[in-house]
């Protein structure tokens, strides 16, 4: 389902617990330009609510979320700087 999505960067936060997935995503997102896409892999169940909230707070667009090999996967397009 998600094979065709072009990503500019991937953060593998599998096995990391709160708040590390969001911190790792933040660090990676800082290096991207608005419009570029970050893929985040996470297994911490908290990420299910944390990543959407984090994306919303920062004006990013979480346009696809799902699962991939026992991990949650989130595709987030960087928004313009707030």
């Amino acid at each position: 389902m998600t094979d065709a999505i072009e990503t500019d960067e991937t953060v593998d936060a599998r096995n990391l617990m709160c708040p590390m997935p969001v911190l790792a995503a933040t660090k990676a997102m800082r290096l991207l330009e608005p419009g570029q896409v970050l893929k985040v892999l996470a297994t911490d169940k908290g990420a299910l609510s944390d990543i959407p909230a984090w994306a919303d707070d920062n004006g990013h667009d979480l346009f696809i979320s799902g699962t991939e090999e026992d991990a949650m996967v989130f595709y987030v397009r960087k928004g313009a700087d707030l």
């Binding site: 990391l16 617990m17 590390m20 911190l23 660090k27 707070d57």
Partner: protein, 190 residues
């Protein structure tokens, strides 16, 4: 041919419309409010279990795009002390919420060596679940430009010097912190 627009007096706003407009305006005002993008956190406890909440909340706030400051005061100074790895311990005495392998009365948890045992247990359990260490959270906090402020008064009272604290810590007083806090919608005391 042009369509006739209804005259303004026929576009009556219902209660729902008024509510929606007010909600949108309030949201717009809040999104422009700089205080909604600032967090001020006080860390006043100096045990390993109490070191986590202020650092987790501070880094999460910074990740959410907020300018974040943590004020370390009283025993909270332990968290930013260079010797934190040794200083931060868990006290099992009078803590009925702490998961124990077997139920233990305070008379047992108060025995010598129990603090060290409880600390080791918590550290190994956290490591097993891949919870970040306090050192890692402090590194992340500094990377995300979280301000770490040591309370000057308690530093003096406890006999510490500025050199006792990790790099990147600034020092200040209650009034300076309150000046930040009053401009922050999020203020948390731990």
């Amino acid at each position: 041919m042009t369509m006739e627009l209804p005259a303004p007096e026929h576009v009556a706003l219902g209660e729902e419309d008024v509510r929606r407009i007010v909600r949108e305006e309030v949201q717009r005002a809040f999104s422009k409010d700089p205080a909604s993008r600032r967090a001020a956190i006080i860390a006043s406890k100096g045990t390993l279990d109490w070191a986590y909440p202020p650092l987790i909340l501070a880094t999460a706030a910074a990740a959410a795009g907020m300018q974040t400051a943590v004020f370390f005061t009283f025993y909270g100074l332990n968290i930013i002390h260079k010797d934190a790895a040794r200083k931060l311990k868990v006290d099992p005495v009078g803590n009925p919420a702490m998961p124990m392998p077997v139920p233990m009365p305070d008379l047992v948890t108060a025995m010598p060596g129990m603090v060290s045992l409880a600390s080791k247990m918590m550290k190994s359990r956290f490591a097993k679940h891949n919870v970040a260490s306090i050192a890692t959270l402090l590194d992340s906090a500094r990377e995300l430009d979280v301000r770490l402020i040591g309370c000057q008064m308690t530093i003096d009272v406890f006999g510490y010097s500025h050199d006792d604290f990790i790099d990147g810590v600034e020092f200040g007083g209650a009034a300076a912190f309150m000046s930040t806090a009053r401009r922050s919608h999020v203020t948390i005391f731990v």
